[in-house]
Symmetry: C2
Subunit: 201 residues, 2 copies
């Protein structure tokens, strides 16, 4: 029981410290959230937040900048059952090494960005996901400084915007409120395992 | 146009290399997937995979080891609309510094692990999410060597098991197929912003 008592005391202290910290966190603010890094889970976690919004009946929107070629489960589920809560636009046509056409990719990315601005400006949307926009920014299909300035100056204050994709640009990281880097520690592709339903798509 | 040609050639090369690699990835295998690290998105990405399974009508299950005290959007959505596809168990009673009772926490964690084994053994489940189990393992509420041995020796070969929580134990990392570390780069709590609906829960 001594051990349990020690544990209880330690945890009571931890709780007091935590409660004190949490009491200072009172601001509500629309966040610019970035998921980047080479690891998995960048888009998956972003779609997880969209499902959270759906659960709370908060209107949201998704623009897919690159992955258009790939039909994902999330997309089917949102289009099939939650299109009244989440507007979904797939603007890209697969990864850039699939299309091999820089001019068309640029046009697509620009059209996606125009749509994204419209959705972000609409105050009805509480969260807008710009899926794989970092790749379009990395290839200079869209100007990173322009995106950063728009998010800083024109985003409605209570709207959350989530940007995903590896190699996020510094311009975006500078104005972001929340940045998570998904780091690859171990990957089964290395052991000859293919992309699987439910895990990768 | 020279620039576009160069881009097209570069991308064609990239695609050929990628296609060649992907052709070698043919195995299907139930994976042990770990999301760890101090950053955000560990549980969110895991629930994203559960929603993927739901989208594909693949039966799945969730056991929440710690976060019981907190009602999350995902949980409400799954219980409300997808309980026929996803069995959901919340076994913990909030974080351990909320409960301050080691004996009760250990009992709860053991009961959760017993339920988890039952769900993993059931071959109908294609994916089982053990949410925040890493915390229960870190506090020794459950034995890491036992969990590792079970996942290695008794998990049905086609079932995916996802384990989340910071400070994943080495015993678990050793037997995992896919490990992602969510690394915290920037966090708005530091700027006095509180946990917000749709983002954190």
């Amino acid at each position: 029981m001594d051990d349990d008592d020690r544990h209880a005391r330690k945890m009571a202290k931890k709780k007091a410290a935590r409660d004190k910290i949490m009491a200072t966190k009172t601001a509500e603010k629309g966040l610019v959230i970035v998921h980047t890094g080479k690891g998995k889970g960048k888009s998956t976690a972003a779609f997880g937040m969209i499902f959270r919004c759906i659960a709370h009946e908060m209107p949201s929107a998704v623009v897919q900048f690159i992955k258009g070629g790939m039909s994902t489960g999330e997309r089917d589920l949102i289009l099939g059952q939650f299109s009244h809560l989440c507007e979904f636009h797939t603007m890209g046509e697969g990864f850039t090494w699939e299309t091999q056409d820089r001019s068309r990719d640029t046009e697509m990315a620009q059209a996606a960005w125009t749509k994204a601005k419209e959705l972000i400006r609409d105050p009805a949307n509480r969260m807008v996901l710009l899926d794989e926009i970092n790749i379009a920014l990395r290839y200079d299909y869209i100007d990173a400084a322009e995106v950063a300035a728009f998010l800083r100056d024109e985003k409605p204050p209570q709207t959350h915007v989530v940007l995903t994709g590896r190699n996020a640009r510094d311009e975006i990281l500078d104005i972001a409120d929340l940045v998570t880097e998904m780091e690859l520690v171990k990957h089964p592709f290395r052991a000859g395992v293919k992309a699987q339903i439910g895990v990768e798509y």
